[in-house]
Each structure stands twice: as structure tokens, then as C-alpha cells.
């Protein structure tokens, strides 16, 4: 092979001292690095040996590749629209109870979404985002990951939080910004985060989580190189097809590929970025084709097929941990049944009938339900009971969280820096004095600890 060719004469001439030193002690766990200096074009070679393309055959035809001549990447399905297995090799790896639990997670998210959307309309929240139609993408991917894996979400992945153990109270406390909200009421609604569940807090600007996910994966990889007793972990990063237009997406894929980071990029391709349809968002074969371009192993799955998403994520996790770590891209095709957010009325840019049609024809919850009914572990009575009890639980958590006290007044000064700066301490003291001096003017009863949190 031309690739490995290396002469004693070339080495000192073509390598800078810096690169020479890195090859002196090759890391055991990493594949040997390729150096530009190790390549050269043999006379009359049939293949290119330029540093930038080492396996390209020469062609004597002047021809541009036409993206349209390539068939679209296939979409993997494990079960069809009627909940019947479509992949003959597919064997469900979950007990019936486990499937029912995940199904209930999907139901919970969808019922909570409906209630909270209405709550926003009643003015009890400033903002909300629902994930109708996309419950399988988040619940099924999360179900195939380990607890120790690190997650970066965009903002439509309630299912991930739910599957990993976020309770209804956790959701409601964040939404109502009460004293039990770990974010201390500082974030917009739906910007959840959980240290215990290894999910980074959601950040509003699009796609910024993607390079960060590559970096987190790189850190996991280095940690494991330093301490092989740590169990192998991956990072999962979620985003929509709209976010994939941001420069950060491309930077993230490139850096993850070149640095071999164990990260699974999970795209929810739901057809719309607020009002922008995919036709105006990108050209070419979806987001999956981008992954191939960056040299990343890629799969496109039917995002409304719970089992397909789960199988793909399971496999992706295995791949991501192979060869010392590498990125994998999953493009889950689905449809955003909901409006983008409570600030959006999507019927201004798409036909109501289109949405109704999708709801009726292909819905991830209905599909898993059919599968469960075929298996005999679910029926109409159970469905009714589940819906009613979930609804009850959501409303209970809702009213409890709404009544809960607000975070302590002290939190107003905290966390801008690790420690309170002297001027912030001074401000806090002044506030305390003011409240104590005019107790009738300030009702601090709704805050945890009242004025007490401001120090003794």
C-alpha cells in the first residue's frame, strides 16, 4: 500500500521536529496517526496520494458529481405503521413491563404538553414548547443510553428527561420557577437541566450545544485514557434539522470526527424550523448526508418508530465506543405536529389538514400502542386508565408547584460569580436593612425563609 510507504530519507526532511516528537511514543489505544510526510505519489499510480485524499482513483472523464443521481439514504424501520415487526432480524430486548413503562413516559410527555400549553394560554406561564409527534425520538433514544452518559438537549426533548427519571414535580418546579427549581427561577420555561441525570441545562441559542457535546465527549475519552477503570461513556446531543444550518453544527461534526470523540449526534428532522420548511432550510439528502461528508457513521431512522430509534441508538452507542471513540449521527425523520412554541401559530404557514393528516396517519404513540396490543400487553381499558391517572398526576404536580414558595431572596445575588463579590455583599446587606426597617412595605412571605436568607 502506498499509504504506509515511508523511507528513511524522507522522514527527517519532511517532518517538522514537532510532529516527529508526537510519533516518538505512539499511544497504545489510538490508531497510528497519518502524517502528510508519509505519503507520496508513486510514478504511474492509479490512485491519488495527495495528503487530502488518499484513496481516490484517477479518472480521465471530466464529470461533476450530481447529488440528485445518488439515491436518498434509506430510512430504517423495525416495525411498520400497524405496529407489526418490519425487520425480520429485529428482536425486542425489553420485557413487556419495560415497554409499558416507556410507553407511559411517552404518554406522560404528550399529556403534560397539552396541559402546559393551555396553562400558558391562560397566562400562568410565559412560555412553553410541546413535543407532540416527536415523543418516540426522545424516549427511545434515551432508553438505549446509560445513566452515566452525558446528554445535551436542544429544547424539545422532554421525553429524554422523563425517561431518565425527571419527575412531574421536577418539570413543574422549573416551569413555575419556584424554590424547588434547581435553576432558581432564572431560566425561561422548558430550559430544564439535571446534574443527577447527567443532562446539561438547556441553552436557547441554537446549536451551541453541539460543539460543546464534542468537547464533553473528548473529555470523557481522555478521562478514560487516564483511568481505564471508569466505565465507557458517550455523549448524546440532540438538535433539530434547522439547527443543523448553524455554523456550530458543522464545526461540531468536524471536530468530533477529527478528534475521534464518542458522541452521538441525534437530529430530530421534524420538517419545520419555526415556519421554515426543510425545502428552504437545506438542499441535498437531509442531515444524514452531512454526516457522511464529515466521515461520520450515519443512519437515518423512522423517528415515529419507537423500536427503530431504540435499535439505532443502541448500535450507535456501540459504534461510538469502538476504536477508542468516534462520532455517530442519527437522523430521525418525524413530523412536528405541534406549533413551534407558544409564540407560534403554525397554521399561518402550513395547512391544518396537513397536520391532522399526520396525526391520524402516523403517530409514534399510536404505533407503539398497536405493537403492544398485538403483543397482548395493552388494551383500551389500560389506555384509558393510564391517560386518566397521568392526567391526574400532572394536574396534582401542577397545582403543588404553582403554590410552592419562590426561591430565597438571597438567590437574587448569587451565582453571577462563584463567590459573592464585596459589592454584591454590600447590596445584600443594604436590602436586608431596608426590609427590616420597613417591614410593612415589603411582603417577603412568599419567598423561602423570608428575609432570613439575606444573612444574620
Amino acid at each position: 500500500m502506498v499509504l504506509g510507504r515511508r523511507t528513511a530519507l524522507q522522514q527527517p526532511l519532511l517532518r517538522s521536529p514537532a510532529t516527529a516528537s508526537t510519533t516518538a511514543a505512539p499511544a497504545v489505544t489510538l490508531p497510528a496517526r497519518r502524517h502528510a510526510g508519509s505519503l507520496s505519489q508513486r510514478p504511474d499510480a492509479k490512485h491519488v496520494s495527495f495528503p487530502g485524499a488518499v484513496k481516490s482513483a484517477f479518472s480521465n472523464t471530466l464529470r461533476f458529481e450530481q447529488p440528485s443521481t445518488y439515491p436518498a439514504l434509506a430510512t430504517y424501520r423495525a416495525m411498520d405503521q400497524h405496529g407489526v415487526a418490519a425487520d425480520p432480524s429485529f428482536v425486542p430486548d425489553l420485557s413487556e413491563d419495560a415497554v409499558v413503562k416507556l410507553y407511559r413516559d411517552m404518554l406522560t410527555v404528550s399529556i403534560m404538553d397539552l396541559i402546559m400549553f393551555d396553562a400558558q394560554r391562560q397566562g400562568r406561564l410565559s412560555f412553553y414548547m410541546v413535543s407532540a409527534g416527536e415523543e418516540a425520538v426522545s424516549v427511545a433514544t434515551a432508553s438505549a443510553l446509560e445513566k452515566e452518559d452525558v446528554i445535551f438537549c436542544q429544547y424539545r426533548e422532554q421525553g429524554v428527561f422523563r425517561q431518565r427519571g425527571f419527575t412531574l414535580a421536577d418539570f413543574m418546579n422549573q416551569l413555575f420557577a419556584n424554590r424547588k427549581d434547581p435553576g432558581k427561577g432564572r431560566n425561561m420555561p422548558v430550559h430544564y437541566g439535571s446534574k443527577e441525570l447527567n443532562i446539561h441545562t438547556i441553552s436557547s441559542p441554537l446549536a451551541t450545544q453541539l460543539p460543546q457535546a464534542s468537547g464533553a465527549a473528548y473529555a470523557l475519552k481522555i478521562q478514560r485514557m487516564q483511568d481505564p477503570s471508569i466505565p465507557p461513556r458517550v455523549v448524546a446531543a440532540f438538535f433539530g434539522e434547522g439547527a443543523a444550518s448553524e455554523g456550530d453544527f458543522h464545526a461540531a461534526l468536524n471536530i468530533a470526527a477529527t478528534r475521534s470523540c464518542p458522541v452521538i449526534f441525534i437530529c430530530r428532522n421534524n420538517g419545520y424550523a419555526i415556519s421554515t420548511p426543510t425545502l428552504d432550510q437545506y438542499r441535498g439528502d437531509g442531515i444524514a448526508s452531512r454526516g457522511l461528508g464529515y466521515g461520520i457513521e450515519t443512519i437515518r431512522v423512522d423517528g415515529n418508530d419507537f423500536w427503530a430509534v431504540r435499535e439505532a441508538t443502541k448500535k450507535a452507542r456501540e459504534l461510538a465506543l469502538q476504536d477508542g471513540g468516534k462520532p455517530v449521527l442519527i437522523e430521525a425523520m418525524t413530523y412536528r405536529v405541534s406549533h413551534h412554541s407558544t409564540s407560534d401559530d403554525s397554521f399561518a404557514y402550513r395547512a391544518r389538514v396537513e397536520v391532522e393528516d399526520w396525526k391520524r396517519r402516523d403517530n409514534p404513540i399510536a404505533r407503539l400502542r398497536k405493537w403492544m396490543e398485538v403483543k397482548g400487553c395493552w388494551d383500551e381499558a389500560k389506555e384509558k386508565e393510564a391517560r386518566e391517572s397521568i392526567r391526574r398526576d400532572v394536574l396534582k404536580a401542577f397545582s403543588e408547584a404553582e403554590r410552592e414558595k419562590k426561591p430565597p431572596i438571597r438567590s437574587m445575588f448569587e451565582d453571577m460569580y462563584e463567590n459573592l463579590t464585596p459589592d454584591l455583599q454590600e447590596q445584600m446587606k443594604t436590602l436586608k436593612k431596608q426590609i427590616e426597617q420597613y417591614p410593612d412595605e415589603y411582603d417577603v412571605g412568599e419567598f423561602e425563609e423570608g428575609a432570613g436568607s439575606l444573612g444574620r
Binding site: G185, N187, G247, T276, D345
Partner: protein, 378 residues
């Protein structure tokens, strides 16, 4: 322009010498659901004055400039099919077609770069950001390319471009969507920065921005879009432009000068009115209109009369627009001041989401009034 300005500042100005909680529901990625009902334009009264919302004024300015010059085009996220996230570009797609009103993918750095490239090639793009918070993804294009290319090319490569969109805090949208970039862009040589308050400001300044041969950052305010202002007959015409670098005295007074911009102008006017009612003092309110170049001449003239200055803005306090106003007043008007010039600004904190805290993070009529009363020892 004036002896108040240092030579470098004078160069920057040479090219063109010439209240209430809003009703708009506040969006995040981003927009109110049914804003169209807020758009209203009343019938002309006897003197020809009509009420315009700021949104209508911006829309009219865009339409007129698109009509007048076929080099002008608008691009941004959702500006065409959806009529703009805040409906500022409403109806423009139908009127001017998809060659001139262009929807883009969600790539701020991409479409901003494309717009800068188009400007460098001789077109006059109007680049809409859904909010200036998102323009951070594209700020390299604005600061390093749009602002500097004329200078670095030795003057042969102009960049006639207008960056526009809502700036500053809205309501309930948290730390990452509630920032005021006046000081950021105002500090960049090569950019011009304007920030309208009223409907007339909006129309006249936007038309001037599009016509200006330089890159202009046009900072709107989401909370102002639905507010109505009377628009004079002259301002309704299609030749109405407001020159950059000229502040407007919105209210004359002799006891205190309040210098403000954008939404805070309206709040300052309310505070001024209350101060008159309660204490009988006359506060002069100056609407900056233009952040860069800054009309220090008008400010100093006013200080000579009132001997006191208060700057009011909703940006963060440190190194901000108010800091610049106070510094210039000190440099050029120190001897006329009877007391230290002061400022009311946003709080030095990432904007909290909680409504109560958010409310306390920015100036309002009451705060301005109390602070002014304190300065005047009332």
C-alpha cells in the same frame, strides 16, 4: 460638526451632515401569535397627522426604499412567507417578490455573510435578525468584515448594508434573549448605529440607514413595535429621512437634562411630566436617535441651560452608552455642571426570567422620576 468633538470623532460623523407596559406578547425564538391585530393606522386628521405604530413605520420605510432603489433587498429568517417574526416585513413578499424579500435558513453567520458579500458587490441589503441576541452568531461578519472593509481596502470597497432587528430586553425571555447591544456596536469604528424611539424616528432613520453608504446597525425594540405615535404629514412622504448624528429634544426644560434612547425616551417623558406635576420642575428630554455618531453638541447645549445631566438607558451599566455620555459631558461640559452627571441603566446582572426580578432589572418611569427628584433635591 462641532468644536465639542475630537478629530477622530469628527471624522466618524462626516459622511452625512445633515410609555407603558407593551401589549405585544413576548416571544423567544420568537414572536407573538397574533400581532397583526396590533397593526393600525388611523385616518388623517385635519392637520394631516396620522397615527402609526412603530411596526407600520418600519414597514413603510422598507417598502419605500425597496420601491425607490432596486439595489435594496431584504433577507433574514422568516421575513418573506411568514411576513417576519414581528411582522415588520408584512406584505413585502407579495409586493416585491421573492428575489427581493428572501427567506434564509437558520444560519445567522451564513445569511449575514451573504448580505455583507452582496453589499461588497454593490447591492444594498437590509439584513434582518430575529433579534440582535441571535446576531452574536454573526458578529464577526458585522464587526470584522462590514465595518472594516472600506478602510482596509483603501476606500475602494464600500459596504452599504443595514443590519436591523429588535434589540434589548423584551419580557419573560430570560438572560440569553434580553440584551442591549448599543454599546457593543457603538464602540466599533466603521459602523453607524441608530436606535429609534417613535414611529417618525423609525421611518426616518431606517430610510437614512438604507441610503447611507456605510454599514448601519439599526437597533429596534420589540416592546415598541405595537406602540402608536402621531406621524406628521412630512414624515408620511417618501422623501422623509432623519440625518444621523442629530439628537432630538423631545421636551424642552430648564432644570435637568435627561439623555435617553429607544424605549427609555418614552419612559423619561412620562417621568418628566410627573416631575412637573409633583414639583413644578421642567425636565428637558433628549432623544439620542443616533448612538454613533453621537450628538454631543446638543447634549452640551442643553447642559449649559440646565446644569444637570441624567443619562437613561436599558443596557448594562458597565462601559455602556451612558458611560460614554457621562464621559463626554465631563470632557466638554464639566464647568457647566452643578452636580455630578448621573445615569440610570439596566442592572449589572444576567437578566432574570422571574417577572418580579426582571421588572427590577431595568429602568421604568418610577425609577427615573425618583432618581431625577433626588438629583434635584426635591
Amino acid at each position: 460638526m462641532s468644536r465639542y468633538l475630537r478629530p477622530a470623532a469628527r471624522l466618524a460623523t462626516s459622511a452625512r451632515a445633515q410609555a407603558i407596559r407593551p401589549s405585544v406578547a413576548s416571544p423567544f425564538l420568537s414572536r407573538p401569535a397574533a400581532v397583526s391585530s396590533l397593526q393600525k393606522r388611523t385616518y388623517a386628521n385635519a392637520s394631516g397627522v396620522k397615527d402609526y405604530t412603530v411596526r407600520d413605520a418600519l414597514n413603510e420605510a422598507l417598502a419605500e426604499e425597496l420601491e425607490a432603489n432596486d439595489k435594496v433587498f431584504v433577507l433574514g429568517e422568516e421575513v418573506a412567507q411568514y411576513n417576519g417574526a414581528y411582522k415588520v416585513t408584512k406584505g413585502l413578499l407579495d409586493r416585491f417578490g421573492e428575489k427581493r424579500i428572501i427567506d434564509t435558513p437558520i444560519t445567522e453567520s451564513g445569511f449575514c455573510g451573504l448580505a455583507v458579500g452582496a453589499a461588497l458587490s454593490g447591492l444594498h441589503p437590509v439584513c434582518e435578525f430575529m433579534t440582535f441576541n441571535f446576531a452574536m452568531q454573526a458578529i464577526d461578519q458585522i464587526v470584522n468584515s462590514a465595518a472594516k472593509t472600506l478602510y482596509m481596502s483603501g476606500g475602494i470597497q464600500p459596504c452599504n448594508i443595514t443590519f436591523r432587528g429588535p434589540n434589548g430586553f423584551a419580557s419573560g425571555v430570560g438572560a440569553q434573549h434580553s440584551q442591549d447591544y448599543s454599546a457593543w456596536y457603538g464602540s466599533i469604528p466603521g459602523l453607524k448605529v441608530v436606535s429609534p424611539w417613535s414611529a417618525e424616528d423609525a421611518k426616518g432613520l431606517l430610510k437614512a440607514a438604507i441610503r447611507d453608504p456605510n454599514p448601519v446597525v439599526f437597533l429596534e425594540n420589540e416592546l415598541m413595535y405595537g406602540q402608536s405615535f402621531p406621524m406628521s404629514e412630512a414624515a408620511q412622504k417618501d422623501d422623509f429621512v432623519i440625518p444621523f448624528g442629530k439628537a432630538k429634544i423631545e421636551r424642552a426644560g430648564k432644570d435637568l437634562t435627561i439623555v435617553s434612547l429607544s424605549r427609555c425616551v418614552g419612559q423619561s417623558l412620562v417621568a418628566a411630566e410627573n416631575l412637573k406635576k409633583k414639583y413644578g420642575v421642567e425636565v428637558e428630554v433628549i432623544n439620542l436617535r443616533s448612538v454613533k455618531p453621537l450628538d454631543i453638541e446638543t447634549i452640551i447645549k442643553s447642559v449649559k441651560k440646565t446644569h444637570r445631566l441624567l443619562a437613561v438607558e436599558s443596557g448594562f451599566p458597565a462601559y455602556g452608552v451612558s458611560a460614554e455620555i457621562l464621559a463626554l459631558t465631563m470632557e466638554y461640559g464639566f464647568d457647566y455642571l452643578d452636580g455630578p452627571a448621573q445615569r440610570v441603566t439596566g442592572a449589572d446582572v444576567p437578566t432574570p426570567y422571574a417577572a418580579g426580578l426582571e421588572d427590577m432589572s431595568f429602568p421604568n418611569e418610577g425609577v427615573i422620576e425618583r432618581f431625577a427628584a433626588k438629583m434635584l433635591r426635591l
